[in-house]
């Protein structure tokens, strides 16, 4: 079919992290932080600078433990453009002992070994290109 191509543009947003800076710096030190509301005591992961439950903005940083139980997972074969340079990867949601859940890549297992209910370890890491992140791996 005949078409006219639109003008190309490149979009890069600068996403503020001032209020979650301790989280991103913690990852570089090997720590995974959540936040806890000083008023109602609710624990949040991902960390939140404000409490959606009681709308209090006084939060404290809490280092989370590394023990997780996998609640579900998927192996992503067809990747989006910005992940095409990676090999297919496994993403899982794990529940930590503290009760909060984390969504992250799951590494160190063969796909055939991965199952709902298995134990995994949550670790902070820095990617080869210098970005702080976190993932589940073999305990």
């Amino acid at each position: 079919m005949p078409v006219i191509k639109s003008k190309p543009i490149t979009i890069v947003e600068e996403i503020p992290i001032s209020k979650t800076l301790k989280f991103w710096e913690g990852l570089k030190e090997g720590k995974v932080y959540g936040t806890k509301c000083c008023k109602c005591g609710k624990l949040y992961f991902p960390p939140s600078a404000d409490c959606p439950d009681c709308l209090c903005s006084e939060m404290q940083w809490v280092e989370l433990g590394d023990e997780a139980e996998i609640e579900t997972f998927t192996h992503v074969v067809v990747r989006p453009t910005s992940f095409c340079q990676y090999k297919p990867y496994t993403v899982a949601i794990g529940r930590l002992k503290e009760g909060v859940k984390v969504l992250a890549w799951l590494t160190g297992f063969k796909l055939s070994e991965v199952e709902v209910g298995m134990k995994a370890k949550l670790v902070a890491k820095t990617t080869p290109d210098g970005n702080p992140t976190y993932e589940f791996t073999r305990p």
């Binding site: 579900t72 067809v78 989006p80 949601i93």
Partner: protein, 393 residues
């Protein structure tokens, strides 16, 4: 809804769904608007308010303000105009908006439009945009989830808890393709087998290519009117809005209670049943949001068509086909009719209306009607939004 006016669906139109590289967004919308106006016996200038559901404006198609662009092209300029976004439920959100404008007495005729042009960009870029439709910052930026992957998380959890199998998922696709083959507007009109589904390439395990709805271009238009206006227009078979329910879910999937059902669907349907004053067993047939095969099974359970974990039983027994307890997606569903994101909600209303009129649907896929009640279940994102609309003739 004691203080609200009764609202009727008086005109419906739907474009051919598919890869529509022969038309731009305006031309595609025109294909839905014109037949809906003819159906209602109205002119474009008679429409007082238009709500357009569309998601990819400026992202996967070029126009940033599709309501004004398509409005001008279809002769609707001058009407109250807005774009509505509720991800894949945008069409239903537009319908709620148009309904509310009439029910509240603000106007007598309103249009709910849905349109999406998804095939102007390459597939990985489309996967990127749609994958970002959750919580970009916390769940996409570092982890690259795609839309099939979000639903795959639900599929694996449902399989682990209830013993649902990949063959069960395949049955949904087989059913959808069977009925889409009878529907001339459907995108995928080929019959398929369980084996075809199981042998198709893995997209995000356990979901394979044939477990996924296609990326489709399409438009749908619904005209609603007050009772007085419907009478004035001498509409033969007005179809009435009996109830609309809505709810939502967390942006982060990690904040969800479990992954074996969509809480937003449960709450939205309960509210819709309550407003309509009916129970699930009174629904004659349904359009459910089967963007992926697992989503149809979740819907059976979330909407109360069966107990938790028994969705696959309905499917295996053929209870959701014509002749069964409750026929579901007799137009081929999102899975095979196609899923032009913003248009899907309106296209569900289009199908409900035609089925309830018992006159326009291709005969071999006409559902038997007892209570003359149909239900449309439209989910946005991965249970991020949900709208349930109940129509009654």
């Amino acid at each position: 809804m004691a203080d609200l006016r009764k609202v009727a669906v008086v005109g419906v139109g739907n474009s051919k769904f598919g890869i529509r590289n022969d038309v731009n967004v305006s031309e595609l919308t025109f294909e839905a608007v014109k037949p809906s106006l003819e159906d209602a016996g109205l002119a474009a200038k008679d429409i007082q308010f238009v709500a357009l559901g569309s998601v990819g404006a400026g992202a996967w198609y070029e126009e940033l303000l599709p309501a004004v662009v398509t409005g001008e092209y279809c002769g609707l300029t001058g009407a109250g105009l807005m774009r509505v976004e509720a991800a894949c439920a945008s069409g239903s959100a537009a319908f709620l908006t148009a309904y509310s404008a009439v029910a509240s007495g603000q106007c007598d005729t309103a249009m709910a439009l849905g349109v999406e042009k998804m095939r102007e960009i390459d597939t990985p870029t489309a996967m990127e945009w749609i994958g970002r439709a959750g919580y970009y910052f916390w769940e996409f930026h570092n982890f690259g989830l795609t839309f099939p992957a979000y639903y795959a998380l639900y599929a694996n959890a449902h399989m682990a808890k209830y013993g649902t199998t990949e063959e069960d998922l395949a049955l949904v696709a087989v059913k959808s393709h069977k009925y889409a083959a009878m529907n001339p507007i459907a995108h995928l009109q080929n019959r398929i087998t369980v084996e075809d589904v199981l042998s198709s390439m893995v997209i995000a395990s356990p979901l394979k290519l044939y477990d996924c709805s296609p990326m489709t271009d399409g438009a749908s238009s619904i005209i609603v009117a007050s009772e007085e206006k419907a009478r004035e227009l001498r509409i033969d078979t007005p179809v009435w809005v009996a109830g609309i329910g809505y709810s939502s879910g967390t942006a982060n999937l990690s904040k969800r209670q479990d992954f074996t059902g969509l809480e937003a669907s449960v709450l939205a349907s309960q509210r819709a049943y309550k407003t309509a004053g009916i129970t699930p067993s009174q629904v004659d047939f349904a359009e459910v949001h089967d963007c992926f095969t697992i989503a149809e099974i979740l819907a059976y359970e979330d909407l109360g068509f069966c107990a938790r974990g028994e969705g696959v039983k309905l499917l295996r027994e053929g209870q959701t086909e014509i002749g069964g307890k409750i026929p579901v997606n007799m137009d081929g569903g999102l899975k095979a009719k196609g899923h032009p994101i913003g248009a899907t909600g309106c296209s569900m209303i289009y199908e409900l209306t035609r089925q309830l009129r018992e006159e326009a649907v291709e005969k071999n896929r006409q559902v038997p009607l007892k209570n003359y009640i149909g239900l449309a279940h439209n989910v946005g994102g991965t249970g991020h939004y949900c709208y349930v609309t109940i129509l009654k003739r």
